[in-house]
Amino acid sequence: MIQCKTSKEISGMGHSMKRKEDDRFIHGKGNYTDDVKLPGTLYMDIVRSPYAYAKIKNIDSSEALKIPGVLAVITGKDLEQYNLHWMPTLMSDTQMVLPVDTVMYQAQEVAAIIATEKYIARDAREAVRVEYEVMKPVVDPFKALDADAPILRTDKPDKKDNHIWHWEVGQKEETEKIFQEAEVTVKEQMHIPRIHVASIETCGCVASYDKVDNHLTMYMTTQAPHAIRTVFALVAGHVGLTEEKIRVISPDIGGGFGGKVPVYPGYVIAIAASFLIGKPVKWIEDRSENLQADSFARDYHITAELAGTKDGKILATRMKVLADHGYTDASANPSKFPTGMFSIGTGSYDYPNAFMEADAVYTNKPPGGVAYRCSFRVTEAVHAIERITDRFALEIGKDPAALRFQNFIKKEQFPYHSPTGWEYDSGDYEAGLKLAMKGIDYDNLRIEQAEKRKKGELMGIGLSTFTEIVGAGPSKDFDILGIKMFDSAEIRVHPTGKAIARFGTKSQGQGHETTYAQIIAEELGIPAKDIQIEEGDTDTAPYGLGTYASRSTPTAGAAAVMAARKLRDKAKKIAAYLLEVSEDDLEWEPGKFSVKGAPEKSKTIQEIVFASYTNHPQGMEAGFEATHYYDPPNLTFPSGAYICVVDIDPDTFEIKVRRFVAIDDAGHIINPMIAQGQVHGGLTQGIAPAMYEELIYDDDGNILNGTLMDYLVPTAVESPSWETGHTVTPSPHHPIGAKGIGESPTVGAPPAIANAIVDALKPYGITHLDIPITPYKIFKALKEKGVLDKNIVES
């Protein structure tokens, strides 16, 4: 049970307050980017490359330009005149806005049409003739470094191969030694598939440039409006569009999940078009364009190894990653972390030593590597450690739960220093796993499984006990393009005691309009319903780095607390003045200050606020406003214990997730209903790559499933009925002990499911299957093991 300090009327932390933003959504009054209508708007459509790697010989726009209503066909050569044909990525690599001579992946932007109507723009798109000279692409990342592989980034004069960067962390020599001497070592090669966020709203913008004022208003689907404004100013400052002349507005967002962090070429082309023509230009991509061209996530090939003793003590892990970044490194990681937080890969276990390394390569695939509902590559690391932990349990014949209990970092070991350099803030991993085992009735499931195995039935139980690392981040290590990863809150309380608060973050469905109001309500005692929350307008909100990587609560949420506490200090001074007592004689309960020992002498927060405008102490600043920029002292380390039961049909190998229990520890919870909703959603996004989703390319770099007809986003039928719960281990350094919840389920679910499926197949000698695990993969694996009925024919 979660204890609340405030009344339901105030609805501070711990109340399952219904969401304030829902009224507009259930009435169809959400205002998403495609709903923005400005007078005189022009429409943009994009010609895309059918080839993965080709030289552009010629672009013939003449037929397209003959279509009435077509104003322009913009090519890379046009942008080159303004030096706008390339732009920086968030990882300080470079990305084409439009190509001048070479296309690097299938579906890359080649030219943009500007027309008076959407349908006319599409007609013109079909009428543009592009001549290509097709080249043999590099598709397989393992071949990208071959001596005979073509060098893809010929635009970089010094580039002599397709290698982007090397990264490593940990104790290389010690780890090697342990592996040489260990009683038991296990090793698996795994692929964390290339997937897509596939938010139901695609990306788009309305770029509106006013020639007279030299001012750009950019409505766009972005999770980080302030950072994007700065990036635009860096890209376009040289043509006179400096930062004070740019206003980025991120209206309602139909799901982001990291896919709306990067700057896509379409945004920049729309700005360029609006700048040149002087009218608003709207660009909304299709779903297929979204899946085929916008940033992918994951795509890590990992060799994971574990060394331990015969009785189950783990001693060291070693991981080697090959990262396929497509043709440019357009990840969205903090600058100093090319592999993001992959070094969280020692997980919840007390590893004396670890060594991890990664190499990234260019291929002819779309760029990306976004943090898809994951704090920068944590999903990849967690999958590797949770799978290899199970592999080790299998090797030594120990129950995977018992093995985890044996090796967990103990509660008393926090703050815990991991061998890869992190200081975990707090955790109680045993409590989480115990609750999950009780919730799913683990012991009886194992008994049932033993019975079923005797009958040849395929039932599996899978665990994942992971540690997340979120809330980037402390300014000493964390920045994006040099901008430190603090975040901000500004609270203004009006004379009548109602408030507005603005933030540098941007909700995409997380419910900030409710949860931020609850945080302020908790601190100031002003009812949450009386606090309006605003985000996403760079002209009005304080600067912040945006919402992704579960950072909103750890950073902006903390900023709200600190700003509110400044106001409470001021309120105390005013109360003392009004009640004619000293501040020391006052005590606070949510919503009012009263005199110690004389509770009838009190002032409500509303009375105090009113006085701050009407009767404030002389010498004190009038008004009731505060701003705070919060620079977190450390990251936060949420954790979870997930257990999943699967049944596999012995004839069709259809996999059914019978039950899934998820216990999360995100510290103090602001709104249990919303936190639970986040977990549900993340779990479905976890089952997706575990069983259904992967972007597949053929040898020529053609995407084979670039539409929602063949890229399998789970429906309500594939998605099981999730069972969730929590343990509460507050973060000691966060002002309200919160850790962030949104991403744990996406991170923790895939290995639980994979472990369950592999567990079901354990009697047949299968030790690992790459996700997504499909019936066909099971069929093939069993066939390879020679355990299939001879009359089952491969179809």
Binding site: H27, N31, G254, G255
Partner: protein
């Protein structure tokens, strides 16, 4: 060549000239200006554009505006009554059946038809019933709960609790 069509949307009659190739969803969003009906795909897969045509749910990205001539259309803007929100709207708000809200209009309209045909559906029936509508945010648990709640409200039964249930 444009063609004149007359149709009713949320009880109001509209007569407009449209190109025969105009998709109904574009007609509703661009020509009529009601933007509550959304577009989430180009392959009739997501259901964000779901509306009711003569009471039957349909994906409005899969129908031409001219095919809807003479029909009565209901969009999300038309489901609340003067007395207040529709039970399905109440269900979604009370049960946290939405996060970003992008799939919500389509989901609710689909659910209205589902409950009309099957006033007391099982969880399994609801899941299959909304399987033409994708939601990327909620994981569907609370959408199912919202529809169960709306069903109870429409039948006049006792309303189920809206409190979140946790493994304790």
């Amino acid at each position: 060549m444009k063609k004149e069509i007359t149709l009713k949307i949320n009880g109001e009659e509209f007569t407009k000239e449209v190109e025969p190739r105009t998709l109904l969803v574009h007609f509703i969003r661009e020509d009529i200006g009601m933007t509550g009906t959304h577009i989430g795909c180009d392959t009739s897969s997501c259901g964000a554009c779901t509306i009711l045509i003569d009471g039957k749910s349909a994906k409005s990205c899969t129908i031409l505006a001219v095919q809807a001539a003479g029909k009565e259309i209901t969009t999300v803007e038309g489901i609340a009554t003067t007395e207040g929100v529709h039970p399905i709207q109440e269900g979604f708000k009370e049960n946290h059946g939405l996060h970003c809200g992008f799939c919500t209009p389509g989901m609710m309209l689909r659910a209205i038809e589902l409950l009309e045909k099957n006033p007391d559906p099982t969880e399994e029936e609801i899941r299959w019933g909304i399987s033409g509508n994708l939601c990327r945010c909620t994981g569907y648990n609370n959408i199912v709960k919202s529809i169960i709640y709306a069903g109870a409200k429409l039948r006049g039964d006792e309303l189920p609790s809206t409190e979140p249930v946790f493994v304790e």
